[in-house]
């Protein structure tokens, strides 16, 4: 099936998403957490069409060592595994997890998270910048999860991050894109790819987010916690494509008054 975005790409209107010198076909990235079972996870991820799939680094459960890691279910040749530093509350901790992830993984990409608050899971931008600088120096390709704050985004770009990932709304909240203006501003001002990460709840959220012109979206809970994750993965794939297409097509201007669509001339007396 030729997708709409593939059609546009054929016409030279869109280019693949390129991060850290690597090109990816899909603008949708998905997480692997919170699924009820591995089979559903794999089917949902396959259906989403995502190339980039995030994973977390955690202790092996020594009482259940036969429990396979998530790698057992996802072919690293087929999916680009992006290790995250989720759950880290300091720069040092995030750097430690990033190094373990690089060792466990197959690339030097890291989705850097430094969390500042347990209730909101909002980023600690001071720790984030510190960790980003260390990891860039260490040779990592850093994708930094951050607030929808322009100044932090600019500083992350200056620090050498390969992509900046502002949130749509808090992680796992499903509240959708709360601040389209800020996300648009970040996209307009940054040279590196801007991938919205966290907060998307349903397909319309994904579509509206892509309509802002951002380069991609990363989501996990919206798919994993849907009643039918595989169907939602398909919806998200279409929504991301629709939003991208609408952005590239260029929307009509907003008007505060009505403008008739049918001719005003030729009406009967």
């Amino acid at each position: 099936m030729t997708t709409a975005v593939e059609t546009l790409r054929g016409a030279g209107r869109d280019t693949p998403l390129t991060i850290g010198g690597r090109a990816f076909q899909s603008r949708l990235m998905v997480g692997t957490g919170k699924y009820g079972d591995n089979e559903t996870m794999v089917r949902a991820i396959e259906t989403s069409g995502a190339d980039i799939v995030t994973v977390a680094v955690r202790r092996v459960d020594l009482d259940r060592t036969k429990e396979a890691s998530v790698l057992h279910h996802l072919d690293p040749k087929r999916f680009f595994l992006l290790a995250n530093t989720a759950g880290c509350y300091s720069a040092d901790e995030a750097v430690r997890y990033a190094r373990l992830g690089r060792e466990a993984g197959f690339n030097d990409f890291v989705k850097l998270e430094v969390i500042g608050d347990k209730e909101t899971l909002l980023p600690d931008v001071v720790g984030l910048l510190e960790a980003a600088k260390t990891l860039v120096r260490d040779g990592f390709t850093v994708l930094a999860y951050t607030n929808e704050d322009l100044i932090t985004a600019l500083r992350l770009e200056d620090a050498g991050c390969a992509a900046v990932m502002p949130l749509a709304s808090p992680i796992g909240s499903g509240l959708g894109l709360l601040n389209p203006f800020s996300v648009r501003t970040i996209k307009r001002r940054l040279g590196v790819p801007v991938v919205v990460d966290a907060g998307v709840g349903t397909a319309s959220d994904a579509c509206i987010t892509m309509e802002q012109g951002v380069d991609g979206i990363l989501m996990n809970t919206a798919i994993a916690a849907a009643q039918d994750p595989v169907a939602m993965a398909q919806a998200m794939r279409l929504a991301v494509e629709a939003g991208r297409l609408a952005f590239l097509a260029g929307r009509m201007p907003r008007r505060e008054i009505a403008v008739p669509s049918s001719p005003v001339k030729g009406m009967l007396d």
């Binding site: 997480g31 692997t32 957490g33 919170k34 699924y35 996870m41 995030t54 994973v55 977390a56 680094v57 955690r58 202790r59 092996v60 020594l62 060592t65 036969k66 396979a68 890691s69 998530v70 790698l71 595994l81 290790a83 995250n84 989720a86 430690r96 190094r99 373990l100 992830g101 060792e103 466990a104 993984g105 992680i171 796992g172 966290a198 990363l218 989501m219 996990n220 809970t221």
Partner: protein
């Protein structure tokens, strides 16, 4: 001198044989070295070196892998 020594593996105290290497420790835990990353006293030990590093009393060892996450 065959008394066991105490180390900490993934946060839990564990008695191991003195002179045991990290590779041997993985074996006693039933872990395939290809599926875990080993951190020994905060330093990552790469797979080829696991058989060269012996554990000492009080060592902190972390054994991690990829799990589902967002």
């Amino acid at each position: 001198m065959n008394a066991s020594i105490d180390v900490v593996v993934n946060g839990e105290p564990r008695a191991v044989t003195p002179g045991q290497t990290l590779l041997e420790l993985l074996g006693t835990l039933g872990l395939d070295p290809r599926t875990v990353v080993v951190e020994h006293n905060r330093r990552i030990v790469r797979r080829p070196a696991l058989g060269d590093v012996t554990v000492a009393a009080g060592d902190a060892i972390e054994l991690v892998h990829f799990v589902g996450g967002g």
